[in-house]
């Protein structure tokens, strides 16, 4: 009985937290808006010519406004995900084209760091997914791989495994120590870890990826060891028809933690 009560209380608390995050995120975007417009106008010379030092100063301000903007966006996204789950816009697409497009978009980012980015696939299935969301996942995984890899290559692979697609993003980066692996998909976990803070980002990217993949009925995980690089895997069912609507709306991120309490 007592356990059941704390389970319900925890659920309420989660709802409250999500609502709070959504509202505060919106409130935070409001003061950010004029700051960003003004800084961009200054940098663009709309309000008069700037000298080099002034320019550098405003560039730093703008960069940090953008960082704050991204962070707020991520918080909003994760809180929505926790509150009601994403509503997926499922369509039938050629998997190869979707992943191929992301890889193409990310090529310049990889080339900037002199890394090789490639996509390997053996079949070209049609698959039912929310294209935009899955592109977001793959973009995030590739972006992470690039961020943490200083030399070598990043390989994206997709293959059919039964009724599912198995996709992976491998890098030749430093790898991740076993004690950190479990925390990767938990929201804000990066903020606790000084060792990754220097790499920027909100620490929400992987939690969002996990939410999106699970919303599709898939799984996401990582295999890595120090000095051995890292490979992120995720699966996606080829068809969404077999899934019940109820499943789609379930709370994906916190559900497991709460279930443990039952």
């Amino acid at each position: 009985m007592k356990l059941q009560k704390s389970y319900l209380e925890l659920q309420e608390l989660e709802k409250l937290k999500s609502k709070f995050l959504t509202i505060t995120s919106h409130e935070l975007k409001t003061p950010l808006t004029p700051s960003k417009i003004q800084t961009q106008m200054l940098l663009n010379g709309d309000l008069g010519e700037l000298n080099e030092k002034q320019k550098k100063s405003f560039e730093i301000i703008l960069r940090n406004i953008n960082r704050l903007d991204e962070l707020i966006g991520d918080i909003l996204e994760i809180s929505q995900l926790e509150a009601e789950g994403f509503k997926l816009k499922i369509e039938k697409v050629q998997l190869k084209n979707v992943i191929g497009l992301v890889v193409k978009n990310m090529l310049p980012v990889a080339e900037d760091k002199k890394l090789v980015l490639s996509y390997e696939f053996s079949q070209t299935p049609l698959i039912e997914i929310d294209k935009k969301r899955i592109m977001e996942v793959v973009t995030n995984l590739i972006d992470n791989a690039i961020k943490f890899t200083t030399r070598g290559k990043i390989v994206v692979r997709t293959q059919i495994k039964g009724k599912e697609i198995l996709a992976s993003v491998s890098d030749t980066g430093p790898g991740i120590a076993p004690e950190h692996l479990g925390k990767l998909f938990i929201p804000f976990s990066q903020l606790e870890e000084t060792f990754t803070r220097e790499h920027g980002g909100s620490g929400l990217g992987l939690a969002i990826c996990k939410g999106i993949v699970e919303q599709h009925g898939g799984k996401i995980w990582i295999e890595s060891a120090l000095g051995k690089g890292a490979t992120f895997y995720f699966t996606l069912p080829m068809s969404q028809k077999s899934k019940k609507l109820k499943d789609v709306k379930k709370k994906v991120v916190i559900s497991k933690e709460i279930k443990k309490l039952k």
């Binding site: 960003k36 417009i37 003004q38 106008m41 709309d46």
Partner: protein, 126 residues
């Protein structure tokens, strides 16, 4: 050349001032108000090439304001773009289809893509 006129509706003073300044660098004439009902009165009494409409406002929301515009025979064909921190699709399905804003721009805006969008709208179909 006739100067194009834009009505900017937003309840936040600093956003109004900033967007107005930005639009003025593009040589548009800009009028501002902080309230949807007031905007409707202004639209009835004048001609505007475009309305930039915030959604979350205290007295009347941008969605309600646009509903009123579409229901008024005198101004129902007014060109409107939402300028909002919340995607209008989150205010219920079919808002875009039903009310026909030309576009929505999310705040905080990127000045360059904002300019492109506005120029595309005001530069075409005249």
């Amino acid at each position: 050349m006739v100067v194009k006129k834009i009505l900017l509706v937003d309840d936040e003073l600093d956003i109004r001032e900033s967007v107005k300044m930005l639009l003025e660098t593009m040589n548009y004439e800009v009028e501002i108000t902080d309230d949807g009902n007031n905007a409707i009165t202004m639209l009835k009494n004048g001609t505007f090439d475009l309305v930039l409409l915030d959604i979350l406002m205290p007295k009347i929301s941008g969605i309600k304001t646009l509903e009123k515009i579409r229901a008024d025979s005198k101004i129902k064909n007014q060109k409107v773009v939402f300028l909002t921190v919340v995607s209008p699709t989150k205010n219920g399905e079919g808002i875009i289809e039903k009310l026909g804003p030309l576009d929505y721009i999310e705040k905080p805006i990127d000045n360059n893509s904002f300019k492109e969008k506005i120029e595309k709208i005001l530069g075409s179909g005249e």
